[in-house]
Subunit: 277 residues, 3 copies
């Protein structure tokens, strides 16, 4: 794909979502669940969140895509998450995995291990999470020990390149690594998306809600385009919001406004570069 | 009741709440729980949320009214919700039911079925939810199959008229159907409330928090007046907030400001019409 | 300590946190969990929230301090909270307890009773909560019956003096009582911190997030200084935010902005008085 072809597909994805208002089910953490839903709505999606196994299965089948974020695990997730991931895999429905805080606790490790076979369409995380997941799945570029610090990365996006490529090759989908410059790859093409704001890591949920928005675009676009489109609108909204605010409270509010206002053309024209892997 | 009598009761409800700061317990979903609490506080109530059975029972008895929203069910709800609803029914305390996402999952169906005997004072939902609940309870105007899409309605408020009336007749309370024009009925009188904003469905929680605010007014007014007062302040706040914002983030913020600022007179004067059923 | 020495330590605490970005684990209620995280981030900390026992243990050991808020208890808390508090006590890590809604439900009572032996470094609550906790722990100044109304206080800060002192003496840490004028004591020194806003109790989570921010400062300062620093920045941010807003929605946003912007000097210079107990 050329850069122009990619831009056309981004425009297509943004406009189709706004027209169709696709429903996306999410199983996500309680810290940022409201922000995830509001971000999904701001870009034109419809959001539904659940915890119970049969409800997750229902949404997996009824929705256009599903977002799974392992942030604040509850005991019931032991049943819910493998079931939902299995259903998604078997029905060929796109789903996005956010391996938040990988390395913290045994259930998280066990669940993330199971997901290897259910091949998420898009994996979205910070550099340390992506490296740790590749390590857990015994793929190239991963390391055995997670360097995640709580929910924060201690690695640079550049350091996660090999892990991102090997994860994308394994799943046949795409991987998005969030950081100062964001990386999106489908295993053969690698895109670098620019913009954003230093305030983004200063509010909780920019990463989680990005994953939720990737799922919205995944209802109408390929994993690679969905991940790149969501990353682009986040970089655009972050850059714009930053200029108009006095702190993190107003940044969060303005960021949602910018997600809501961004046009398809503007999102497609947010700076990015591509290279062959 | 005449329109003037209704307006007087609305003014009474708003002012009494602001003076008494009534405590309302809620068992509600994790997506919008913060917004529900802040909306309840903005209109003058005091908010307390719980999950466990004996805590729900405690609040049911201690609070002036209770709000039950079946949004993101947890396993413990199987014990908590029937117990709390039973206590509310037996003690004659007002309670508001929000049958979010009716049709999704077996526990939700089972719980909503149980609530028929505990007769919620107010049922608040979108058109599809109200029609589906009437169907589940085998009342006139309902349909056997839920047309709820995730948390969204696919029916018009007008289509839910018969279901709303039969639900209100069954409970002896009131039913509020949210949509472009909102409908509130006690089974004999039907009110249509105007205003609001196209941005309201673009943020998560306007429906849930409306239910929470109905519960606040239900501590001091009849189910019908409580539902109409809450609907009126929502329509007023939505209409006003829309004019001052650039997107969904600022709308959410401004909407709470408008809930907080609205005077009793302004709420009573928000346009509505009444007709006999 | 003189007032000047205290100011120096406040400046030290604020600046060290901003430089080190300390990680704080929290187990807290779902109502205000987002606000807690954003407040912790706004003052320079890193926030991670969990529910499961081994995850709580992991964060207790990995983080610089831990925040435990018993707001919306889940069944798993029966295992998680005593384990985490025990680990914190045994490893000598600072932790902050927020005894929200003490008196509501049996699990809450049982957990709060257990915490007596694990001696939280800082206890943060409203006057009624502090009095009720001293009562539950059979310390001077406490009463047998909680006068907490849902999550609200029915007592004045002044009335909680004796309870605060005896709790601080028992734990060897500090106690912060939130109200119109806030009280912070380590059992021998008592500080009164001024400022804040009448809008603070009109939004949910100012108390919870204050507890979360105390934990952030407790990673680098003594319990007394941590509690006083957090209380000072809250009073400063509240006072400043109030002047620029039209209601509770914009207050919440502006309050986070002010937390983010406040300088170490400004926080240290927020009015307070000290006296010997």
């Amino acid at each position: 794909m050329t850069k122009e072809e990619i831009k056309d597909e981004i425009i297509q994805a943004v406009e189709t979502v706004r027209r169709r208002n696709p429903m996306v089910g999410s199983i996500t953490n309680t810290v940022t669940i409201n922000f995830v839903a509001n971000a999904q709505l701001a870009v034109g999606g419809s959001a539904a969140m659940v915890y119970l196994p049969d409800e997750g299965e229902f949404l997996a089948k009824a929705g256009g895509a599903t977002y799974i974020n392992v942030g604040t695990l509850l005991p019931i997730y032991e049943e819910t998450l493998p079931l939902v991931a299995k259903v998604l895999h078997e029905t060929g429905k796109p789903w996005v995995l956010d391996p938040v805080a990988i390395g913290v606790g045994s259930l998280r490790t066990q669940l993330l291990q199971r997901f290897k076979e259910y091949k998420p369409s898009v994996i979205r995380g910070n550099a340390s999470e992506i490296i740790a997941l590749a390590g857990l799945w015994e793929l190239d570029g991963g390391t055995a020990v997670s360097k995640v610090r709580g929910v924060d990365s201690t690695d640079s996006v550049h350091a996660a390149k090999a892990a991102a490529v090997s994860l994308a090759k394994w799943t046949g989908g795409a991987v998005a690594v969030s950081g100062e410059t964001d990386l999106v790859t489908d295993g053969s093409l690698m895109a670098f998306s620019y913009g954003g704001s230093g305030l983004m890591p200063k509010i909780t949920g920019t990463g989680c809600s990005l994953g939720g928005v990737v799922a919205v675009y995944a209802t109408v676009a390929s994993p690679f385009i969905a991940a790149l489109t969501a990353t682009a609108v986040y970089n655009l909204a972050g850059k714009r919001a930053e200029k108009q605010v006095n702190g993190t409270g107003s940044f969060q509010m303005r960021f949602l406004d910018e997600l809501y206002q961004a046009t398809a053309e503007e999102i497609a024209n947010n700076p990015f570069e591509i290279e062959e892997v």
